[in-house]
């Protein structure tokens, strides 16, 4: 059985480097600000969010029918449609296509689904060279790390980090930290891979039932190159990515880039309906736990996610701890509510990596009740006895104290004395997670209750539980 991921402990590594931490916080908050500015420019923004939510809920509640409709149209367009129950089946289908083509290399664009399926290690252990062509994803591949962010996989790295990495892997100038130079190094080394590749793979932002199309949105153009330059295009898509119509696609395209980066649209917003003459297009529809999640009454709404990462950019915990600390494919608020559906024990601690401030819910373009679901997962962890003993006992004690006013008043009146007499090592022991990176604030010389008694003694004190 897997040990639970300790996000807080993992974050300590990231927090130890103040420069990285502050930079990431600033960068992500700037993206959040750009998202807000972009949203304000669209008068019908809230209407679009409501529509997107309703369209997704309609589609998910009629999912089988829409998948069948997509399949029929895609086949009519000349595509080959595959179905994969789990990650292994998905990976095996990709390997089989490569083998049929005699291909030992695969160029691919960013796809969180293939991260979820661990496609790259699966293929690499079978002697297939995989080249990530998204800049951020390639940086993470070269550094042997998973993505740290859904939209910007290497966003936690500084220019200096990338300059050093590229110098080690590509022999470029380690002292040249210019962004354009570094992007140029990547372009120079990736272009030959595109040109010689026999098979390319992309993910799918949307799968359109009424046209049999898949839609991919990128800024770099690497997905279009991966799909068009080789003669075989594989598209890996989660079954929840289907939407009913081309008409409804417009709603999501208007929301996606604005929510993600504050741009109105991505530079390349591409629709692939079928193969060109003499080429082949394979679409792999992947379940991997999604159909089971659809049956979770409290959590199926997480399937509405369009992977914009707005919830991550606004989350104070994510911004101050980095994506790698979550130890999971999906990170930040959306990761917290998705990952336990894959493995409850391993991700049992993630729901506690949140302040429950609801900022994530407020920015979600498809109105997923993210903070409510995070709270719901905490309850599930409690119901399934997945909460650590220390945390559970602390919550039990707090519950008793807070529900008995006399006990609470005794605790608050003795607290100042306790803080004065107890040694530092006890106050800041391992049990005091709050005090790990902060000083305990000075305790007021009197409680509100004491002040009230002194100043409002004529008024009736209702000694009700707080």
């Amino acid at each position: 059985m897997s040990r639970p991921i300790d996000q807080a402990r993992n974050a300590e590594t990231f927090l130890a480097d103040t420069a990285h931490e502050q930079r990431l916080d600033k960068l992500l908050w700037a993206m959040r600000m750009r998202r807000d500015a972009a949203a304000r420019q669209v008068p019908e923004w809230e209407e679009l969010r409501t529509l997107a939510s309703q369209i997704k809920e309609h589609t998910l509640s009629n999912l089988a029918e829409y998948l069948i409709q997509f399949e029929a149209n895609a086949i009519a367009n000349g595509a080959v449609v595959h179905w994969a129950r789990d990650a292994h089946e998905h990976n095996q289908i990709v390997l089989d296509i490569l083998t049929q083509q005699g291909a030992r290399e695969l160029v691919k664009s960013k796809s969180m689904l293939t991260e979820e399926c661990e496609l790259r290690p699966f293929l690499e252990t079978r002697c297939v060279r995989v080249v990530e062509t998204d800049l951020g994803e390639r940086i993470q591949q070269l550094d042997n790390q998973p993505p740290g962010h859904i939209v910007g996989p290497a966003i936690h790295k500084t220019n200096k980090d990338v300059a050093i990495l590229f110098s080690q892997k590509y022999g470029s100038d380690p002292d040249n930290e210019d962004t354009a130079y570094l992007a140029g190094v990547m372009r120079e080394h990736t272009r030959p891979d595109f040109l010689k590749a026999g098979v390319g793979l992309t993910g799918a932002n949307f799968v359109v039932a009424d046209s049999g199309a898949i839609v991919v949105a990128t800024n770099e153009g690497n997905a279009d190159l991966s799909a068009n330059t080789p003669s075989i295009h594989i598209c890996s898509a989660g079954i929840e990515k289907v939407i009913p119509t081309t008409e409804s696609l417009a709603v999501f395209i208007r929301l996606l880039a604005r929510s993600a980066t504050g741009d109105t649209i991505t530079q390349y917003t591409s629709t692939f309906r079928g193969p060109r003459k003499g080429a082949a297009m394979h679409v792999i529809l992947v379940d991997n736990g999604r159909s089971a999640r659809l049956g979770m009454k409290r959590f199926w709404h997480s399937l509405k996610c369009i992977r914009c990462a707005a919830c991550m950019n606004t989350c104070p915990v994510y911004r101050r701890s980095g994506g790698l600390s979550y130890g999971s494919t999906y990170m930040g608020p959306i990761g917290i509510i998705m990952m336990p559906t894959f493995e409850i024990r391993k991700y049992s601690e993630l729901p506690f990596s949140s302040t429950l401030n609801a900022s994530c819910t407020n920015v979600c373009p498809v109105k997923i009740d993210i903070h409510e679901q995070i709270y719901g997962w905490r309850e599930v962890m409690e119901e399934n006895d997945q909460i650590q003993v220390v945390k559970k006992e602390a919550m039990r004690v707090a519950g008793v104290v807070l529900s008995h006013s006399a006990l609470y008043r005794t605790a608050t009146s003795t607290l100042p004395v306790g803080l004065e007499v107890l040694p530092h090592s006890v106050i800041y022991s391992r049990l005091n997670a709050w005090g790990k990176h902060r000083d305990i604030p000075d305790v007021p010389y009197e409680t509100f209750h004491e002040w009230y008694r002194k100043n409002r003694h004529d008024e009736v004190m209702h000694d009700q539980p707080l």
């Binding site: 998948l67 000349g78 179905w83 040109l195 190159l225 330059t229 417009a250 395209i253 109105t264 049956g295």
Partner: protein
Amino acid sequence: MINPSDAAARNVILDAIRGNQPAAQPMPPIPHFRNQPADLVIAFCESLAWMTGVVVTEAVPDLESFVHARFPDAKIICSSVPEYVGTIHPASFDHWSDASIIDVCVLRSPMGVAETGSVLLSDIELQVNTIALLARDIVVLLDPKQIVPNIHDAYEHPHFKSRPYCLLMTGPSGSGDIGGTVVHPAQGAKTLTVIFSPVPGDGQRSG
């Protein structure tokens, strides 16, 4: 076609979905948002400028001179428009990867989008899809009468339900993956220049 080996998986997945689907919820009507800008051409220019594209609004009577003046070092110029021959035609490429030799690619788009500054390019206009992806610089002719207000209007274009490949291209390729600063190019084109140019003999939107 369905891969026969996937048929079992298909049935298992669809059965699982049917067993777990929440109660059917209605599809909402999608209103046609008509809050279009007062001037579509100005809005298009502003939107594309935001995405680092360039719009040439004044008439360009001699496309060849324009291309040579703007891209003086360009040697391989691929044109798919009748107005300009260039040095190579898309039909010349036996392999789509061969398009990487192109310096400048000249195309005509059947539609622009004011809301975003996007131009539509499908396999009809491209002929070889990679010419707009592997070329260093892209020049797109666009009839200003073929600019539609927003993305809802854009997806009504018949290409999206009839063509194998449709690209809404909005500026040159870019990436903000290093340091959060967007730079151009990433993997695709270094520049995108849109020239306003009426369709010869027909100002109406073409299918």
